[in-house]
């Protein structure tokens, strides 16, 4: 809170006007429309619509396809989060031991942040391409017949790898920052108390890193749920047989390709509730920090 403030009354509104206008026109109004549409059903020609209450939601929740999408989203988000955070933590711990070479390694590890999810998808789609890709060729040697076009598991693995790959750099940077924020004296004290490197990690470093870990957990789940649209659309398009049809992709597909506005809007509303709860979690607990 500032002690000294300007007394103008009109000026602040002028300063806020662009932001508020855009927020209202492109955020609040469409969100309101989504809520409204979720209670309506359009006729086959999209001319008339009638109020149907919670019918759209009921239809969704009893639809095996939507249940499948929920499950796929959960599996996908958890896998991406674990894989990307695990690799990033390992790399961060390794870089934390480095003195001179830390900067070089960091540069070589952070660049994927700049790669668009869609491009990441294309790259891995190519690497795993069953006929000309590098990986199926390698996997064939160990006797695994990779085919993400027909195999549900392979398709899921592909999108998880592509999504996790892109997110490693982000997690890496935050883990490195978190590790550097731990006072050296703590680890020195533990070393004097006779704890070896592995023990020190589990007794001292990892617990002290928990605020970073928790924060990244939320960020990664949000990333996997909402920012990976490009990965899916550029590769599997939700297939095969709905195996990678995550919720944001289904909203788009049902709304634009399937032209089922009511159902798409209901899905939007459910997603909104999800983002709101994730944001609340982030602000409630991350602000307070899981700390000692």
């Amino acid at each position: 809170m500032k002690r000294t403030i300007f007394s103008n009354q009109l000026l602040p509104w002028l300063l806020l006007a662009p932001q508020l206008a855009i927020t209202f026109i492109f955020f609040l109004w469409p969100a309101g429309q989504a809520v409204r549409q979720s209670f309506l059903r359009e006729d086959a020609f999209g001319i008339n619509s009638s109020f149907v209450g919670l019918t759209n939601f009921r239809a969704l929740l009893s639809s095996p396809e939507y249940m499948n999408s929920l499950q796929v989203t959960a599996v996908f988000a958890v896998s991406v989060t674990i894989m990307s955070m695990g690799v990033a933590l390992l790399l961060a711990i390794a870089v934390d031991r480095m003195l001179k070479s830390a900067r070089v390694y960091t540069t070589l590890l952070v660049w994927p942040y700049a790669v668009a999810p869609a491009v990441a998808g294309i790259l891995w789609w190519f690497i795993f391409n069953p006929t000309i890709g590098v990986m199926p060729y390698v996997l064939d040697v160990v006797g695994y017949d990779w085919n993400h076009i027909s195999s549900k598991t392979d398709a899921m693995l592909l999108v998880v790898i592509a999504s996790a790959w892109k997110q490693i750099s982000y997690n890496f940077l935050f883990f490195v920052a978190g590790l550097q924020a731990i006072p050296a004296s703590m680890r020195e004290a533990a070393a004097i108390d006779g704890a070896g490197p592995v023990r020190r990690f589990f007794d001292i470093t990892f617990p002290l890193l928990s605020p970073t870990t928790f924060f990244l957990l939320v960020v990664n789940i949000v990333y996997a749920m909402f920012d990976t649209f490009g990965v899916i659309d550029a590769t599997t398009e939700g297939g095969p047989a709905q195996a990678t049809n995550i919720m944001v992709y289904k909203v788009y597909f049902d709304g634009f390709i399937g032209q089922n506005i009511g159902s798409s809007a209901a899905q939007s509303v459910i997603l909104m509730l999800l983002v709101i709860s994730l944001t609340v979690i982030q602000f409630r607990w991350v602000e307070k920090k899981v700390e000692y």
């Binding site: 662009p18 209202f24 790669v115 490009g230």
Partner: protein
């Protein structure tokens, strides 16, 4: 580091080198592929080293593109991406910094409500309200325009919060001294606040440029005229089109070109990039 254990150090290096290789693999494969011809992939073995067709493939893509895919030359798409990224980055910074200024340095009725309106945008990513937002933009006649590509994306709670944080940490005495020195609100904003926020703006610009350049879903929806295609959205159209006739070398050349500007920004401005990344998460 507490004790010197050569074994552990060697292991750390090994982990890092492996990490660098795995992280870099897609880029290498893409680059290699972009230097070969279509027939090189048909032989059954995948080339692992660059071929001789680099200049040929890249100049073909930049100047002409793949006409069967309905996409314009890559140079054109890169220009569109650049315009979109710059509009988004500059637009976000401009409207966020003025909003933060209004919220921090003024007291007016409904200030709390204005703050919440901005805050709520955090919870409404475009993917969630995709259909109605598209309808609004279509209704405003903004399809196939740079405004349609950028304006709906430039409201940002994150950037506003960042500047709010920056302003809150500036000493009160600075604005008091400026007032005694005869500076009104806009003069204070221009002469004191803007210059003092320069590095924050630069750091934010790096993050937002990448954000803007990498937009995918939105450009895919609002552009049907190929003259407005952006490279990230265009690459998918291209990959779709070449599925029948595998021209992966050209798709990979496009992918490399699509990665080049944002990756160059991250590596060239690593310090600002890290600062921006950490600050926007506060």
């Amino acid at each position: 580091m507490i004790e010197n254990r050569p074994g552990l150090n060697a292991m750390a290096h090994l982990v890092l080198i492996l990490g660098v290789v795995v992280v870099g693999l897609p880029l290498w494969v893409a680059f290699v592929a972009s230097t070969h011809t279509a027939t090189d992939f048909m032989s059954g073995t995948v080339p692992m080293w660059p071929g001789p067709h680099l200049v040929e493939n890249y100049s073909l893509m930049l100047e002409r593109g793949v006409s069967t895919s309905g996409t314009p030359p890559v140079a054109r798409m890169m220009l569109n991406s650049l315009i979109m990224a710059l509009l988004i980055a500059c637009g976000k910074i401009a409207i966020s910094i003025t909003s933060a200024f209004a919220i921090v340095y003024f007291r007016f009725p409904l200030r709390g409500l204005a703050f919440w309106c901005i805050f709520v945008t955090l919870m409404l990513p475009v993917e969630v309200r995709i259909v109605p937002t598209f309808q609004v933009v279509a209704g405003l006649g903004l399809l196939n325009s740079y405004a349609g590509l950028s304006v709906p994306l430039i409201a940002s709670a994150t950037a506003t919060f960042l500047f709010r944080q920056v302003f809150l940490t500036m000493p009160d005495e600075l604005v008091e001294a400026a007032r005694i020195d005869g500076a009104g609100p806009m003069k204070f904003f221009r002469d004191i606040l803007l210059p003092l926020s320069r590095t924050n703006m630069a750091a934010l610009f790096v993050i937002l440029f990448i954000y803007g350049w990498n937009q995918y879903l939105w450009p895919l929806l609002v552009t049907t005229d190929s003259q407005y295609y952006t490279i990230v959205a265009g690459i998918k159209r291209m990959a779709d089109a070449v599925d029948g006739l595998p021209q992966w070398h050209l798709v990979m050349a496009t992918a490399v070109l699509a990665m080049l500007p944002p990756v160059a920004v991250v590596i060239g401005m690593q310090r600002l990039f890290v600062k921006g990344l950490v600050e926007t998460e506060k």
